[in-house]
C-alpha cells in the first residue's frame, strides 16, 4: 500500500499541465461568482492554457508509466499535449468573435467545458488502461454534447444536439461492448502491454474481429467516418462557429492520437519495414471504411448548398485523408499524420473565424447569401479563401505538403506490400482531390465573381482589427508551414515504432 502511494506522489509532476488546467477551471468557477464580464472569462481561459502549456516544458522529460501504469508518459504524449494545448489557444479567440457564444449568458460555463474538454483530451492521449481510456473518452463525448447544448438556442440546434447525443450514446455502448470482449478474451486491463498482444494472438480470429470492430465504432463516430457520420452535417449546420471549430479539432485530435497508438502497436519493425500483425487485417478493414468515407462525403457534398454542411462533409473528407497514415505502418506516418492534423486545424480555424464574422454581420447561411459580398468585405473573403485553398492543397499552403505526404507514403507503402485497397485508395484520393476543387471553390466563386444583389447594397462593411490580426497570424502559419515544413516536422519527429517512443 505504501509503495502505491509513493508511486502516486511521484507521478504528480508528470501531470503538471493537467493540474494547471484543473486549477484554472476552479478559478474560472470562483470568478464566475464575482463577475459576469465575458472578456475577463476569456482572458482567464487564455491564461490557464498558456500557463499549462508553459508548465509542460517544466515537466520531466523521461518516459514513465505513471499511477501504476494507468497512464503512459512518453515523447508522443509530451509532444501531442503541446499540440493539443496549442490548438486550444488557437481556437479560443473564435469564442471572442462569435457573438452567438460571446453574448451567451452561459459563457463562463461554456469556457469551463472547453477547458475540461482539453483536460480529458490530455488524459486520453496518455491513457494506457481500458478504464482510464473509457473514462476520458466518455467524458470527451459528454463534454462535447454539453458544449453543443449550451450554445443551442433554436429548435434546429436542439434537434441536432439530440441526434448527436443519441447517436453518440449508441456508438459508445458498442465501443464498451467491444472493450468488454477484448478484455474478456485477453484478461488484460492494460491495452498496451505485451501480454495483451500475446493473449490476443492466441484467440480465434472471429472474436478478435468482433472485439476490434465494435471497439472502433466509437472512434468512427467521433471522427465522423461512414457509416457513423449522420450527426456531422446536422450538427455543423445548426451549431455556432466557435463550438464547431472546437468539436472539429480538439476531440478529434485526442482520439486520432489514441487510435494511432492503438493500431500501431500491432506492427513490428523488421528491416525498416514493419510487419503487421496477421490476425486482423487492419489495412483492408480500416481501408474499407476510409474508401466509403471518401466516396460518400464527396458525392453527398455536391448536392449541398449550406456552407456549414459543406464544411461538415469537407471535414469528413479531410479526416479520411489523415487516416490514410493510420494504415501505413511506417515510422514517419505518425509525424506526418500530426502534421496533416495541424494543417487541417489551421485551415478549419481560418475558415470558421471568417465565417463567424460573415454570419454575425450578414446572417449568411446558404451559399447564395455570400453572393457578391467581396464588394463589401473583400479581405474577409481572402482569408476564407486561404483556408479553403489549404484544404484543396495548393502549393504554398500547409495543406499541400500534407497531401504530398499522403500520396508519397501511400505509394511507398503500396510498392512494399501491394495491398490492392491501398492502390484503390490512392486512386480515390486522386479523384477526390479533383472533385474537392469544385465544392471548395463554389463559395469564393459566389463571393468574388458575382455582383452584389440590389437588395443588399446598404449592408455594412466588416471592420474588426482583432479579427484581421488573428486571421493574418493564422494565414502566416499556413504559409510558413507550407513553405518550410521543417519548422513543424522537427518538432513532431518521432523515432521508431510509435509505441516505443523515446526521447531524443
Amino acid at each position: 500500500m505504501k509503495e502505491l502511494l509513493a508511486n502516486n506522489f511521484e507521478s504528480l509532476p508528470y501531470l503538471l499541465p493537467e493540474l494547471c488546467l484543473f486549477v484554472g477551471i476552479l478559478v474560472q468557477f470562483a470568478w464566475n461568482l464575482f463577475s459576469k464580464k465575458p472578456i475577463n472569462h476569456i482572458l482567464i481561459t487564455a491564461i490557464t492554457l498558456i500557463i499549462s502549456c508553459a508548465s509542460l516544458s517544466l515537466s520531466p522529460k523521461d518516459e514513465a508509466f505513471i499511477f501504476n501504469e494507468l497512464l503512459h508518459y512518453s515523447n508522443l504524449s509530451f509532444t501531442s499535449s503541446y499540440v493539443l494545448l496549442g490548438l486550444g489557444i488557437l481556437i479560443l479567440p473564435i469564442y471572442y468573435f462569435d457573438t452567438r457564444v460571446f453574448r451567451n449568458k452561459a459563457l463562463p460555463e461554456i469556457l469551463m467545458v472547453f477547458l475540461c474538454l482539453i483536460l480529458s483530451g490530455l488524459l486520453l492521449i496518455k491513457s494506457d488502461n481500458w478504464i482510464v481510456f473509457t473514462l476520458s473518452f466518455e467524458s470527451i463525448a459528454l463534454l462535447s454534447y454539453l458544449l453543443f447544448l449550451l450554445t443551442s438556442n433554436d429548435t434546429k440546434s436542439i434537434e441536432a444536439s439530440y441526434k448527436y447525443f443519441l447517436f453518440g450514446v449508441v456508438c459508445s455502448a458498442f465501443m464498451l461492448l467491444g472493450i468488454g470482449i477484448l478484455y474478456a478474451i485477453t484478461g488484460e486491463i492494460n491495452a498496451f502491454s505485451s501480454n495483451f498482444l500475446h493473449q490476443l494472438s492466441m484467440q480465434a480470429s472471429l472474436f478478435i474481429s468482433l472485439g476490434l470492430w465494435l471497439f472502433f465504432i466509437g472512434f468512427f463516430f467521433k471522427l465522423s467516418l461512414v457509416p457513423f457520420h449522420f450527426w456531422a452535417p446536422d450538427v455543423y449546420e445548426a451549431g455556432s462557429n466557435a463550438v464547431l471549430t472546437t468539436l472539429a479539432i480538439l476531440p478529434k485530435f485526442a482520439v486520432f492520437i489514441f487510435l494511432f497508438r492503438f493500431v500501431h502497436q500491432f506492427s513490428f519493425t523488421i528491416d525498416n519495414y514493419p510487419l503487421i500483425w496477421p490476425k486482423f487485417d487492419f489495412v483492408n478493414n480500416l481501408g474499407f471504411i476510409l474508401c466509403a468515407t471518401f466516396i460518400l462525403s464527396n458525392t453527398a457534398i455536391l448536392r449541398v448548398y449550406s456552407f456549414k454542411r459543406i464544411l461538415a462533409y469537407a471535414g469528413m473528407s479531410q479526416m479520411s485523408f489523415m487516416l490514410v497514415f493510420l494504415l501505413i505502418f511506417s515510422n514517419q506516418a505518425l509525424s506526418f499524420g500530426i502534421y496533416y492534423f495541424i494543417a487541417y486545424a489551421l485551415g478549419t480555424c481560418l475558415v470558421f473565424v471568417s465565417n463567424t464574422l460573415l454570419e454575425n454581420t450578414y446572417k449568411t447561411y446558404h451559399i447564395e447569401h455570400y453572393t457578391g459580398l467581396a464588394h463589401k468585405s473583400f479581405f474577409v473573403g481572402i482569408f476564407l479563401l486561404i483556408g479553403l485553398v489549404s484544404f484543396i492543397g495548393l502549393p504554398g499552403t500547409a495543406g499541400f505538403i500534407a497531401k504530398f505526404f499522403v500520396f508519397s507514403e501511400a505509394i511507398q507503402f503500396y510498392s512494399a506490400f501491394q495491398h490492392q485497397i491501398v492502390l484503390f485508395m490512392i486512386i480515390l484520393a486522386l479523384i477526390v482531390s479533383i472533385i474537392s476543387v469544385y465544392y471548395y471553390l463554389c463559395l469564393p466563386l459566389a463571393y468574388f465573381f458575382k455582383p452584389l444583389p440590389q437588395t443588399q447594397r446598404n449592408l455594412a462593411e466588416i471592420e474588426s482589427k482583432g479579427f484581421y490580426i488573428y486571421a493574418v497570424l493564422l494565414s502566416l502559419c499556413i504559409v510558413v508551414m507550407g513553405l518550410f515544413p521543417n519548422s513543424i516536422l522537427n518538432f513532431i519527429h518521432f523515432e521508431a515504432n510509435p509505441n516505443l517512443f523515446i526521447f531524443p
Binding site: N331, P395, F400, S408, Q418, L423, F449, P485, L489
Partner: protein, 519 residues
Amino acid sequence: MLSLLVFIPLLAIIAFVVIPSKHKWVIQVLSLISTGIQLAIAIYVFSAPSIAHSSQAHADFFTKIDWISLNLSTVEAKIYYSLGIDGISAPLILMSAIVLLVANIYSLHIQYRVKAYHILFQVLSTAIMGCFTAQDLFLFFLFFEFMLLPLFFLIGIWGGGRKEYAAIKFFVYTFIGSVLILIVMAALLFSYQDAQGNLSLEFDILSQLKMLKPGSILSLDSTLQFFNLEVRAWAFLLLLVAFAIKLPSFPFHSWLPDAHVEAPTPISIILAGILLKVGAYGIIRIAIPIFPDILPQFADTISIIGAFSILYGALNALASTDLKRIIAFSSVSHMGFVFMGIAASNLQGYHGALFQLVSHGFLSAALFLVVGILYQRTSYRELSGYSGLYHLMPNYTFLTLLVFVASIGVPGFSAFIAEFMVITGVLSSGLSYPIILSLITALGLIFGSVYFLRTYRKVFMGNLWLKESTEWLVFLKDLSLSEKFCLSLLLVCSIGLGLYPNLIFDMSDTALQYILSIL
C-alpha cells in the same frame, strides 16, 4: 541573378500593398517598371555567352540552397531551392519577359480594381519565371501550381460573359494535371538517390537512370504492373497527360477555348503566349529526361495525337465565328507541332519544337492583341459584325495582315522555320508513319491559311459595313501609340527569328543534344 528575376514581382507587390488604391497610375507604372526590370535581367541572362554550353546537367547561373529535408527514418529526402537555366529555358525566359511586358502595357486599359489586378499579375509573372528557372521538381511544381489561383481570379473577376464558368473549368482542368504530377512526384521522391544517398528531386539527378534506387517503385527492375503496363510507363503517361492538359492537346483541350474567350485580353495574351509553353517545357524538361526508356513505346501515339491536334484545331477554327475562338483553336493546332517534334525524338524535331514554342509565344500574343484591340473598341467579337475595316483603320489592317501571314507560316517569319524543322524531323525519324503524318500536317497548314485569310477578307476587305454603324464609327479609331508599339515589338521578334533562326538554334544545341544523349 535568377532569384532576382523570379522575385522582383514580389517586391513590387509589397510596394502595391502600401500604396493606396486610389493612386491607380502609380501602381500601373510600378508594375511596368517591375516587368521592365524582369525583361532587362532576361536580356542580360540571354546574352551571356556561357548559355550555349549549358545543359540540364550543367545549368548556368546555378544557385542551390537547402530547403526542406525530410527525415524518413533510414534515409533523408532533400529538397533544394535550386535555380538555373540552360539553352532550352533561356529563349523561353526572354520570350516570356517580352510577352509579359506587352501584356502589362495592354493592361493599362484595365481600370477596374487596378491594385488587385496588378498584384495578381505580378504573382503570375513570379510563377512563370520560377517555372522556367526551377531545377528541382518540387520547386517547379510549386511555381507551376502557383499560376492557377491568380489566373482563376484574373479570368473570374476581369473576364467577360461566362467568366465564372470559364474560370472554374480552367481551374478544374489544370488542377487535374497538377494532381497527376503530384502523384508522380510522390513516387519519384522515393526512387532517386543522389551521390550521398539522400533522396532527391533535382532534375539533374532525375535524368540519370543510374541514380535510381534499387528496389524502389520506379526502378527498372520493378515488376509491378497495372493492365499490362509497367509502373514507369504509367508514370510517364500520367506526366504526359498532365502536361498535355496544359499544352493543350486533343483530347484535353476543351478548357482552352472557354478560358481564352472569357479572359481579359492581357490574360489571353499570357495564357496563349506563355502558359501553354509551360506544358510543353514540362514535357521536354521533365517527362522525357526522367523516362527516356519509355518514350519510344509511345512515340507513335504522341505523334498521332499531335497530327490530329493540328487537323482538329484547324477544322474547329474554320467552323468558329467568334474571333477569339478562332485564335484559341489555332493555338491548339499550332501546339500540335510541338507534340510532333517531341515524338520525332531527333535533333531537328526538338529544335523545331522549341522554336515553335518561342515563335508561337510571340505570334499568339500578337493574335490575341489584334482581337483584343477590336474587342476593346466595340465589345463585339463575331466575324459577322464587321466588314471593310480597312477604310477606318489602315495601320491596324496592315499590322494584322503581317501577324496573320506570319501565323500561316510564310517564309521569312519564325513560324515557317519551326514548322519546317518539325516536318523534316518527322520525315527523318523512326516513327511508323512519317509520310502520312507530314501529309496530315500539311493539310492542317492549308486549313490554317484558309481560316486566317477568310477572317482577314471578311473583317478587313470589301465595303465598309458595321453591325451598329453609327455608334461604332466613333469608337473604331486607328491604333494608339502603345498598341502600335506592342504589335510591332512582337512582329519584329517574329521576323527577327525568321530571318536569323540560328540565334536560338546555336543556343539550345548543347542542351537538346544532352537530352538526346539520354534517350
